[in-house]
Symmetry: C2
């Protein structure tokens, strides 16, 4: 069948959604022999397939897995997620979402009206830019660095008219692999409280800490900082399986209902089957052992990649957890054309400018985001050698 179809005018908001530069890398990954340092995906050998399969079998035993359920999430799963949620001020409620991405989307759209401004860290995980564009939100970049312990730059930004929310990834950040110190966290909360700006804390890597517990979450600290408001976003994607598409939020009562209303408008409710599988998995009491195994695996991989990069004179701070390194090239390296030369060597990475707030901003041109989680230690060594070969070409 064929017909003349007019091209409907599309909404300016939709047209403003930027291409995700990370998803644009996928086609390269299918080339035979390519080693992928680009994608922030958990390693397939880091899934607890036995536990997930057992949980799935149990989940299918009752009709709840097949039926409609509450928009805010399965109450039994919510009860089980309490143990995985940081301590939080009284009055925070938990709601289940389709990944932490949906928490951030619902939170920003609840807090910020079209035309208002959201503060984002620089560099930033680019999917957050898509949320802001689709909602008609402006963005401004901020930095939290040891050189500015009073966060005076951030204070100036918070004082601008029309700032509605601040998005933060203070623990094992993507792409930077950075973790903010406790004093920095408190200072940021004090500033946000003073300017009455709510904080969205994206915290999917908290359980992938390689050396002891990470600093307290912003949501925990908010209990000590009068007037601060934090919406905390967690995810099962990095600790259990991204295919379950389950995240959850700890959110002040006054924002939980609007976020749930918005979620119901968009897609009614979380996936019933996936929620029951997650619940039954958590009941198996395997998560601690599983996470302990994954942390050791990833720590060894980080060590291997960081060592290879240091030997080749990259500058880097070895992330204390999570999945990413964000090294700077050696001083004398030729950044131009490196991505293509790396492809020729069959190694794929995510170029630094993919994490800029604006397309065409090349100030991060000498940075590479490298995921150390997806390849085993030996293959990571090979990938690093290929990268160094591309550098020297």
């Amino acid at each position: 069948m064929q017909t003349d179809v007019f091209s409907p005018e599309l909404s300016s908001l939709v047209l403003a959604v930027p291409d995700n530069p990370l998803r644009a890398l996928y086609p390269y990954n299918t080339r035979p022999g390519m080693l992928n340092l680009a994608s922030g995906h958990p390693s397939r050998d880091a899934y607890d397939v036995e536990g997930l399969t057992e949980a799935s079998h149990r989940a299918t035993l009752d009709a709840t897995a097949w039926s409609y359920g509450p928009s805010a999430g399965d109450p039994e799963l919510i009860a089980a997620l309490v143990a995985l949620t940081p301590p939080r001020p009284q009055g925070h409620r938990l709601i289940v979402t389709s990944g932490a991405q949906q928490v951030v989307d619902l939170a920003l759209r609840s807090l910020a009206r079209p035309g208002s401004t959201v503060l984002l860290p620089e560099p930033v995980y680019p999917a957050i830019l898509a949320i802001c564009a689709a909602a008609g939100l402006r963005v401004s970049g901020y930095r939290v660095t040891a050189e500015d312990p009073d966060l005076t730059d951030l204070g100036r930004l918070l004082g601008q008219v029309g700032v509605s929310a601040l998005y933060a990834q203070p623990t094992f950040s993507n792409p930077g692999g950075e973790t903010w110190s406790l004093p920095m966290r408190k200072r940021l909360l004090e500033l946000c409280a003073a300017y009455r700006v709510s904080v969205v804390e994206d915290d999917p890597y908290r359980f992938l800490s390689f050396a002891g517990a990470p600093p307290a979450a912003l949501v925990e600290l908010s209990a000590e900082v009068a007037g601060s408001v934090v919406i905390w976003a967690g995810s099962l994607s990095k600790i259990l399986a991204p295919g379950l598409r389950l995240g959850w939020a700890a959110v002040p009562q006054a924002i939980a209902q609007p976020m749930t209303d918005l979620r119901q408008a968009g897609d009614l409710q979380p996936n019933s089957l996936a929620q029951r599988v997650a619940l039954r998995y958590l009941e198996l009491d395997r998560l601690d052992a599983h996470l302990s195994r994954v942390r050791k695996l990833y720590a060894a991989r980080r060590d291997r990649l960081a060592a290879a990069l240091a030997r080749a004179d990259f500058t880097l701070e070895p992330a204390a957890g999570g999945m990413f390194l964000f090294p700077a090239l050696p001083e004398d390296a030729r950044a131009e054309g490196l991505f293509e030369r790396a492809l020729d060597q069959d190694v794929l990475y995510a170029p630094g400018p993919a994490f800029a707030l604006e397309r065409g901003d090349h100030r991060l041109g000498n940075r590479l985001r490298l995921c150390f989680a997806g390849l085993d230690a030996e293959t990571l060594g090979t990938a690093a050698r290929r990268l160094v070969a591309a550098l020297k070409e």
Copy 2:
């Protein structure tokens, strides 16, 4: 932990999202002994649990179920859904979503910018109003009736400034149980094409036809109507299981990418596990037999409820498929307080005004939406007797 939390100002869009009057009925349903005619949920005895369980076991055999996948959906599932999709113009693509609700959300947000108008049928499924409010869209109601075969009223509405899209549920509609004739369908497409207004066709009940095939879908007819554009929305919720939260769209190429971008911004991608379960289910070749069983079950239930209502002098058109009757009360009935008197009789229904475009509009006050799918024929008979008793009180 306790602290003073300021109440952040929320976005005016979020505050405008109306409460879903159907979800507000849920608490009544938990009363012991209550018979629920209100909820549009498939009957639990209409799930093919054996097939779904078998499909789940197969789905867990490969890591695809646990991993990230494409934002537009699992390519193997998309290939399997082709057989369930109406014929459509060349250049339409299929994308997988979290239920038909998400198709409508993504489609309307792609086609209509904030402040523009979407035309909705009266009465309307109220979750569509939530989509429009959250996106800042205005709504106007239209009717397709035999009294206005040229759809002159609709033509007048389409001619207004700022109309961006028309939402339609032409087959076994919720709540009306109505099905538009073929000439009406063509006339509507001609009008929409003339005014260059795109149509979103919500078609979750197509496979629940009790007497032969329903009229051709709008998307099929659009191939014959030059200039018409239709985005078709299908769902596995009513034919397989709502807990899978899977729908899909057939959408012109030029709109498929913007819808996928928006989807990626909101929650990245469809649920990988649920997609693999649906794929493995469709491979089992049980769907035709399952649907044949469900259609017979629901047809018998419709007959039982329609007969009981007719005996009690309700006015109704027995729906030729789907899940709903939308009868008018007998002429001499006292509508006021009926909902409460029905609760006293332990029977729950969805009051007509829940399907008005504006809260507080009581023109549908003498209508009731009754779902005949969720109770067996004998229990439906009891529910109808209780309703009639409430009416006579």
